[in-house]
Amino acid sequence: MRFYIYHRTVYLYPDLVNNSFNELRLHPLTNDFQQCKSSLISVLPSTRLREYLDLNGNLVQYFEIPTNHNKLTIEARSTVTTVSRVDFDQFPYGIQMDTLKDIEQRVNCRNYLQDSTYVELSPEAWRQAIDLQGNSNDVFQTSYQIMEFIYSNYEYCKSTTSVDTSSTTVIRDKKGVCQDFAHAALTFCRCLGIPARYVSGYFYDHTKDQSMRGSEASHAWIEVLVNGRGWFGLDPTNNRVVDETYIILGTGKDYRDVAPITGTYFGRLPTSMEVDVSVMKQED
């Protein structure tokens, strides 16, 4: 499928602010299942945009605005093509949980098995994770159960959590938005030794009644490593296995690694932050 994504973020400040420094992770990834055909990222007030590749392999754009301003607009326009990464008749079952021990020391897994800023592994989380696993001995099956559990038992509600809410709070309160759901799912997976990483991106809501949750802003879900079969995406917010309607911006240990926009400045908190995301399907 081919998508055009327009993502605009506008910060309005009550007073003039200055010395703003920001990093943007708004450039879609190119991998075996997704190709970024074009990406245009722009910032107002106009300033020089530079880029680097971070340790997670995500392309980061960054900029500075030293002078006074009271409004900051960041726009990203991307065209991306995707192919399905999973065969829905043949999920990657058959990898036993006890094989996980073999990969836990691998360099590309270790980061995704441990605590990270927003993913806190605690005895309480571990107890719940064991319960969720039940008598399943299959890696994908177990991860799927975790996703289903979160989807059916957690309440999706905005403005009850913030960008800094940790997984412990989410697991306790059982509510939040896509980011929180992803952090909770990561916690349970990692407690059980399943390498799991955070994914930031978008999805195209193909349902007739636009019933999927989280399409108005950028989205988040998780990927689990099924040993020998690769990474598979699971979206606990919508209870879906990730397919070609999802577009990945970047992956990391948790939100902190892939926040679409992150930065600092001198001045008062913004009076408003408007986010506008539209994902349009284009003819192939």
């Binding site: 245009l40 722009s42 106009s46 300033t47 945009l49 880029e51």
Partner: protein, 482 residues
């Protein structure tokens, strides 16, 4: 199979849009269907279709004005029936490249009229900007509606002898020509209805609707249906036909300066029902003339007090004030640097190498190699006042040398690009003629490039000048679906 009127055709030593010249003529695949249809026409059938097209232009009053011409001012824009075809893969690149370019130009204008970071960082010399006659220091610090300066852009593209698309110039003030694009399409659909259908040509008809949306997006009064008007300099302007055409297609009023009045920083239109407040003005009038209180004092075309209302945010102008800076051919030379600076990317579309006479080194080179270069004034449009070295006389070159020495900032030079050619019907036969392409880009809630454009063709043999004011004609441009 190449038959009929194309039998004698030769591509010469040029990149030909329709044929690939190997040992024999090979039709490029995206031209096959249309060539089959054209070859089947006898010369008399072809002539009949052509005269139908001409009379249809006359009936619709599709004309333009040539300045500085003694015989009659209004003329028909010569039209060629052989369409120019662009396959999807090529169009995708053009589309992407133009969007990148207009975005960078807008960021540049925003920067220049605010902090000027690109000047502080030394990427573009400050002097270049400050000596541009279209730089409007009066609006420094002003936030234009929606932060967009160029809402309608017409960038001219050419192809060199290898078929590479290059941007020749940007028109960010009042680009014209879109009415011909739309009229040409109407005529082609009537002349070749089945071929048009069978080729899967992308439609351009939505342009007026898109343009209106682009204008409405700027309205300071979002709560009600915005009142948009088209401000024309009047019947003597070369593009007056286009002004009436677009106003009619969009269903908005066409006004002249005297139809508008500014009261208490709002702009009103005089109507038979009394004054009506205007939200957005699509002005087809240069900055210089829009407000005699603000810019040129002797302008009788503008509206006194308009700029005051604009700066108060009570009325929007499209294109914004100060965009002429982006048209300056000296600024043009720096667009690749702008794209790198603001977007952190390499330009998708190439630019033509440009020598700035303002730089001493370049100037010396230009003066020494005048015969092999095209010299253009930095701030003229319509192909006026340029020198094509290879076609000039010694006297002309000497005159230009003096002009350049007197005012180096005002002149740039480029190598003579051997423009691509396209089969064109001329003097009773099909011959190769040089062409360019002017696509139109709209920037409202997002950027949109109309799939197609005005293909201009130099009707004189071997001429490289395609401007309508210099005896050019036009063709319909067919962008194919995937």
């Amino acid at each position: 199979m190449i038959t009929g009127q194309f039998l004698e055709y030769s591509t010469g030593n040029f990149f030909d849009e329709m044929f690939d010249m190997g040992t024999e003529l090979l039709t490029r695949p995206h031209y096959e269907k249309v060539l089959k249809r054209l070859s089947a026409l006898t010369p008399s059938e072809f002539e009949e279709k052509r005269s139908q097209a001409v009379s249809s232009f006359l009936e619709h009053g599709v004309t333009f004005t040539v300045y500085g011409d003694a015989e009659g001012t209004e003329r028909i824009f010569p039209f060629d029936l052989i369409p120019r075809v662009i396959p999807d893969e090529e169009w995708t690149i053009i589309d992407r490249g133009l969007k990148q370019r207009i975005l960078a130009l807008n960021l540049f204008l925003h920067d220049i009229y605010h902090e000027g970071r690109i000047l502080q960082d030394g990427v573009i010399p400050r002097e270049i900007v400050e000596t541009c006659p279209y730089f409007r220091k009066e609006i420094i610090g002003f936030d234009v509606p929606k932060d967009i300066y160029v809402h309608v852009c017409g960038s001219d593209l050419i192809r060199d002898d290898k078929g590479t698309y290059m941007v020749l110039e940007d028109n960010g003030r009042c680009p014209s020509g879109v009415s011909y694009l739309l009229e040409n399409r109407e005529i082609m659909k009537r002349a070749f209805p089945r071929t048009y259908q069978a080729m899967g040509v992308r439609s351009v008809e939505m342009y007026p609707e898109l343009l209106l949306k682009t204008l409405e997006h700027l309205s300071p009064r979002q709560s009600q249906k915005p009142v948009c008007v088209l401000l024309s300099p009047g019947v003597y302007n070369s593009a007056y036909f286009e002004h009436t055409f677009l106003a009619r297609q969009m269903g908005i009023e066409i006004v002249e300066g005297r139809d508008l009045i500014a009261i208490d920083s709002f702009v009103y239109m005089r109507t038979t029902q009394g004054l009506v407040q205007v939200d957005v003005i699509y002005r087809r009038l240069d900055d210089d003339f829009i407000d005699p209180l603000f810019f040129r004092k002797d302008s009788v075309l503008g509206v006194p007090g308009l700029m005051n209302s604009y700066l108060k945010g009570n009325v929007a102008l499209a294109n914004g004030v100060g965009t002429g800076l982006a048209d300056d051919k000296v600024t043009y030379a720096y667009v690749p640097e702008m794209i790198k600076f603001y977007l952190g990317q390499d330009p998708i579309l190439e630019s033509v190498p440009t020598y700035l006479c303002w730089r001493e080194k370049d100037c010396k080179f230009v003066l020494e190699n005048l015969a092999d270069l095209v010299v253009k004034p930095a701030n003229e449009s319509g192909g006026y006042g340029m020198l094509i070295g290879s076609e000039s006389t010694k006297a002309e070159r000497d005159e230009f040398k003096n002009r350049i020495k007197e005012n180096p900032r005002e002149y740039i030079a480029q190598p003579i690009i051997s423009l691509s050619r396209h089969p064109t019907f001329c003097n009773g036969g099909v011959v190769g003629r040089h062409i360019d392409l002017r696509p139109f880009i709209l920037y409202g809630s997002d950027m949109e490039v109309v799939p197609g454009g005005l293909t201009r063709v130099a009707l004189k043999e071997d001429s490289l000048v395609v401007n309508s004011s210099q005896g050019g004609g036009s063709k319909d441009t067919w962008v194919l679906k995937k």
